[in-house]
């Protein structure tokens, strides 16, 4: 044998894409870190809704600003992917711009604002309005992955509760709301049950988005960097928002339509247009709104 076989560790940096960042590996993370995250992702898919611990790394962006989502995306993304990044549903919010630039710079991947063109969508706080497909992966940035954390601050305890499938404390908390206010007052990060087993934090999406998670054709991945957890919902998996027979789960509704595109079915942001507090409503999903306007839909333009 005379063939010289390159040692795997020696060749790690050789294939950083030409468009990548000099001195760093493709998609920033080193290969060993990616393998560790990839193994955690596979376990997460195999155990829907269970939070897999992983050796989260410091990223060049601060904890709390999407480091979990970024690590998941970095482990998943390849040169042929098309990446969309949204924050609050919008592509042009500063943190979405910053994360998109990070991947454009370190992985040289194509990016897009169009939901339908994306193969990987990283999101903070929203699920796009357009139904996602089997060819897409939705990556959520998660601040607090533990749905029971506000009720029980200790990890040692919450881990036991999940192991024993003991979710009484969560039901009690929701029911206390009903007793006190006549309704469940959680409006975002509304807990869900995945495949009838694990109670899971959907990340701080408004509960309006919860039904979209149920039996979604796309794979949903969740990354919590600071808390060092990864979890997943496989495609076509039951995701039910916790509720009670006499108090079924409900989503937000608006009397208004989007002032720009007239949409009646999308999540609306309230925009204050003058110092008297005059309001108008616009789609939080900036791509959905633009696509509708491009297709000829029009709203009333808001207060004149």
């Amino acid at each position: 044998m005379t063939t010289v076989i390159p040692h795997p560790n020696a060749s790690v940096a050789t294939s950083a894409a030409p468009a990548g960042l000099a001195g760093y590996n493709f998609a920033y993370l080193d290969e060993q870190t990616k393998r560790m995250i990839r193994r955690a992702l596979l376990k997460a898919v195999a155990i829907p809704g269970y939070q897999v611990p992983f050796g989260s790394r410091e990223m060049p962006l601060p904890y709390g600003w999407g480091t979990g989502g970024i690590q998941v995306t970095a482990a998943v993304i390849g040169p042929d992917d098309v990446l969309k990044v949204i924050d609050q549903g919008a592509d042009d919010t500063t943190n979405a711009v910053s994360i998109r630039r990070f991947f454009a710079k370190t992985a040289g991947v194509a990016t897009t604002d169009r939901t339908v063109d994306a193969t990987v969508i990283q999101t903070r706080h929203r699920i796009p309005e357009v139904p996602l497909t089997e060819n897409q992966i939705l990556v959520y940035q998660v601040p607090i992955p533990e749905p029971l954390r506000q009720l029980e601050p200790r990890e040692a305890e919450t881990r036991k509760m999940h192991a024993l499938e003991e979710y009484g404390v969560m039901h009690v908390s929701l029911y206390e709301d009903i007793a006190k206010f006549g309704r469940i007052t959680r409006s975002y990060n509304y807990p869900v049950r995945v495949n009838g087993r694990y109670v899971m934090a959907p990340s701080p999406i408004p509960k309006f988005d919860n039904p979209k998670m149920d039996r979604m054709p796309a794979l949903q991945l969740f990354g919590a960097g600071r808390e060092k957890r990864i979890y997943a919902v496989p495609p076509y998996t039951d995701v039910k928002s916790l509720d009670f027979e006499d108090h079924p789960f409900e989503i937000e509704t608006w009397e208004e339509d989007c002032s720009l595109c007239g949409a009646q079915d999308s999540y609306l942001d309230e925009v204050i247009v003058d110092d008297k507090g005059t309001k108008m409503y616009v789609c939080s999903d900036s791509d959905y709104c633009r696509e509708r306007r491009e297709a000829g839909h029009q709203g009333d333009g808001g207060p004149k």
Binding site: N9, N25, Y28, D30, Q32, T33, M36, P53, G55, R57, E58, M59, P60, P62, Y63, G64, W65, T67, D87, Q88, G89, A90, D92, T93, T94, N95, V97, S98, R124, H125, R126, P153, R154, E155, A156, F181, G182, T185, S187, Y188, P204, P206, K207, R226, K228, E252, W254, S259, L260, Y267, L268, D269, E270, V271, M280, V282, S284, S286, G301, G302
Partner: protein
């Protein structure tokens, strides 16, 4: 007509240009060199290396310069760089008994083998602003002692050990893998190695305050500063292909061993126990805070009550890291308007319900 806000890209670029400009300050003032920072702000460099978990004074100086002197930001920069470095393996444990000591004090003995060695310390300075220093520094260099310091000084705790008065500390099994906090997610209850790693990277202010709280009655552990030593130790590494350790360099560390009174329990006779602190460079305050908190976190091992914050392992460990804490506190600056909108909808609905209830009550009167 309303148009959605655009231009995140340009705003970021402009903000970063402005940041560079403000970092530089008045261009007529000479620019700081890394040498200047490393040599003249050495304690800042030491803190950044310690909490940044990377021993590299040059890079720490660069981080401080880039962060405009914001040490937590500098620590973050160093950490983010550290994670990209390849890992060759685990070094041999450093031997602080073989330290080339620059400073060594003990509060538990008046004198001891090797002697007390004050070294360079703020301790007995009068904290008077030195206006002469403002004008320029031209003071005489310190004189060289006629004889050198003893090399290799026994630890104070080992002196107690001869009498069996202090708990024995046996080294971990060399063949067992070392838990690595930077590569694994912590598990609770955590073992001491994981706790010490966490504390070593922990925020100095956090450890100082928690250590202080134990002195004020929140989990008192009756500490004595058994020994604090600062100096240089050799770093050894055994490459796989050689099979034996070789010295690869020297680092400065600060070590603090607290000696704590312990009244004993059903299993253990009365004896002294230990709290341990270790930092890169000269970070004495941090090492002492760390030693107090380490001992506090051992309460469980000694069958003591664990009621104070400093004894609460999850509370201490989960909140000690200033890179994590700073990021998450400051992430509140990111837009949250979608969730705020959801809350608006909820609060309005709750108010409508409350108003309707009040109207019914009013009508009934």
């Amino acid at each position: 007509m309303y148009v959605a806000v655009k231009g995140g890209d340009r705003a970021i670029e402009n903000s970063q240009k402005l940041l560079d400009e403000e970092r530089r300050g008045d261009p007529r003032v000479p620019e700081l060199s890394l040498d200047q920072i490393r040599e003249q702000m050495s304690l800042a460099v030491d803190r950044v290396m310690t909490e940044g978990s990377l021993y590299d004074p040059e890079l720490a100086a660069l981080a401080i310069k880039q962060a405009r002197g914001d040490l937590v930001e500098a620590i973050f920069l160093l950490r983010a760089y550290r994670t990209t470095l390849p890992r060759f393996g685990v070094g041999e444990p450093i031997d602080t008994a073989k330290m080339a000591v620059r400073r060594r004090i003990s509060a538990t003995y008046k004198d001891l083998p090797g002697g007390q060695l004050l070294g360079a310390s703020f301790d007995y300075t009068h904290r008077l602003l030195d206006f002469a220093l403002a004008a320029g520094d031209e003071r005489p260099v310190a004189e060289i002692a006629p004889e050198g310091v003893e090399s290799g000084m026994q630890h104070v705790a080992d002196i107690l050990d001869h009498e069996g008065l202090i708990e024995r500390e046996d080294p971990d099994d060399e063949n067992q893998p070392v838990f690595d906090l930077t590569r694994e997610s912590p598990r609770y209850p955590a073992d001491r190695a994981a706790r010490l790693q966490n504390l070593a990277r922990g925020d100095e202010g956090w450890l100082l305050a928690l250590g202080y709280s134990t002195q004020r009655g929140y989990g008192n552990n009756h500490p004595f500063a058994g020994e604090i030593r600062v100096g240089e130790v050799a770093v050894e590494f055994a490459p796989e292909e050689l099979g034996f350790p070789i010295e690869i360099g020297e680092i400065t560390v600060t070590e603090c061993e607290m000696v704590n009174q312990f009244k004993g329990s059903a299993q253990v006779p009365p004896q002294f126990t230990r709290g341990y602190g270790l930092t890169f460079g000269h970070c004495e305050r941090k090492a002492m805070g760390m030693a107090l908190v380490d001992r506090a976190l051992r309460a469980r091992d000694f069958g003591e009550a664990t009621e104070a914050p400093a004894q609460d392992e999850e509370f201490v460990m989960a909140h000690s890291d200033n890179v994590e804490a700073s990021g998450f506190v400051q992430h509140l600056k990111l837009p949250h308007y979608v969730d705020f909108q959801a809350e608006l909808v909820t609060v309005r609905a709750l108010r409508r319900k409350a108003e309707a209830a009040r109207a019914i009550a009013d009508a009934a009167e």
